[in-house]
């Protein structure tokens, strides 16, 4: 379910690309520091977006050089303080719940792999969940509701996407100032809605081949790409209008790139079947 909320690299400024890379490595470093080496595997673009969105952009970005355990090279890491810790914990919680889902749904090989990884994540998850119990509860209720109504063909696609979207809105910290909180919630609701629908659309081909139920093809009314495209564009319009209401920060350029260029690029790639979850890009574009 992860990895869709990414920037469109060719349109990022050089300084923004550096900052985005630093944010990516910084989040990985935070997960490593707080939860250990193995949970670093939960790192996903989506949580980098969440960090950059929720962090206080009025403070100048603070970076430091850290050693990467994967490449053994020194990398520039962005430290967003409490927001980094928060995004790292949310990533661990969400990844753990996703693994539990996989254990319930997948076939033997994938189920065993999910079980093993869930086992290694268990300690990190317990720690993250005790720190942020509200988000853990939201994740559990929303995902169980989702798996309950996913099999019911009479439920509209919007109801399914709503479950996942509400889960993302739970990521907005309670302490946020009310009007700012509303903006974040609207933005994350529509990003969540986009991610759910695009993930379901991405799985259509493999689900059909494996005779598995799919959120889009299992609906009562037939949903074609034109209808999906229109509804996704509307979601991105609303998410964009919410982003414009936030004050200008160091990260605005990256966030705009993700919403206005990155997500539409992901959408068209998923629609024509060229989307690659683990992109093998050229050396200059590669995110290390």
């Amino acid at each position: 379910m992860f990895g869709y909320v990414r920037p469109h690299y060719p349109e990022l400024r050089v300084r923004e690309l550096e900052l985005y890379r630093a944010a990516y490595c910084g989040l990985c470093d935070t997960i490593g520091r707080r939860f250990g080496l193995l949970p670093r595997g939960v790192l996903a673009y989506d949580f980098v977006f969440l960090t950059l969105l929720l962090t206080d952009g009025s403070i100048a970005p603070k970076t430091a050089m850290k050693r990467c355990p994967l490449s053994f090279k020194r990398r520039r890491c962005l430290d967003c303080g409490a927001t980094s810790d928060y995004a790292a914990a949310l990533g661990v919680i969400l990844a753990y719940h996703k693994l539990r889902d996989d254990i319930a749904d997948e076939k033997f090989a994938k189920r065993t792999a999910a079980r093993l990884y869930a086992l290694t994540l268990r300690r990190a998850y317990t720690r993250a969940a005790t720190e942020y119990p509200a988000f853990d509860d939201a994740a559990r209720t929303c995902l169980s509701e989702l798996s309950r109504i996913e099999t019911d063909a009479s439920q509209p696609l919007d109801a399914l996407a709503d479950c996942f979207a509400r889960l993302l809105t739970a990521a907005v910290p309670e302490s946020t100032e009310p009007s700012r909180k509303r903006i974040f919630e609207t933005l994350l609701y529509h990003v969540g809605r986009f991610v759910y629908i695009i993930d379901a659309r991405d799985d259509v081909a493999s689900d059909t081949a494996n005779h598995r139920p799919n959120a889009i093809t299992a609906r009562q009314s037939r949903i074609d790409d034109a209808r999906l495209g229109a509804t996704l564009t509307n979601s991105l319009n609303i998410a964009g209008s919410a982003l414009e209401l936030l004050p200008e920060t160091e990260y605005s350029g990256i966030l705009r790139n993700i919403l206005y260029l990155g997500l539409p690029a992901v959408q068209s790639a998923v629609f024509d079947g060229t989307f690659d979850k683990t992109p093998r890009l050229g050396k200059r574009e590669r995110l290390r």
């Binding site: 469109h8 919007d158 495209g229 509307n234 979601s235 414009e244």
Partner: protein
Amino acid sequence: MSDPYAVLGLTHGASEEEVKKAYRDLARRYHPDNYHDNPLADLAQEKMKEINEAYDAITKGGASSGYGSGGSAYASQSQAGGAEFSVVRSAINSGDLGMAERILQQTANRNAEWYFLMGSVYFRRGWLDEAVQYYTIACEQEPANAEYRSALNYVTAGNTTYRPQGFGAAPRRQGECDMCDVCTAMACANMCCRC
């Protein structure tokens, strides 16, 4: 009131041209058209008011000029519908979607307006695909109604709303060609033609 130059994102001593440009850009960004039926429309309206005030304070225009901040979408509509529907409209405007939906569910008279209002509730909630279905039924039942038609057109057009400069067009994909490519090809072809 806060510093009008800061509101427009300028420093003191900015020229008239710069003020106009900044104002125009911000007014385009927070224009009510971009926040049509949007749950954040009130925040955009506030921003718009701030910008208008700042612009007036700098240009010393006094009376409010420039773009209007736009009324709410439903208040101004005079409708033939019953008292129930006007309650629903005001509930939608005030953001009380739960109440609006409850009243609509209890209504037995499911005419075009009912479908339209149900669509509006879904749109505000973010169930955009359902909203399209309901607007479509409303338009089928009353094809002449401009309000229903414009709501349906808005959600099915699939147009992107305001984008800041540099984020306008969808990213260019490999293999596509634009005007520059055509010009370059012509120039190259021209070189081959010379003898």
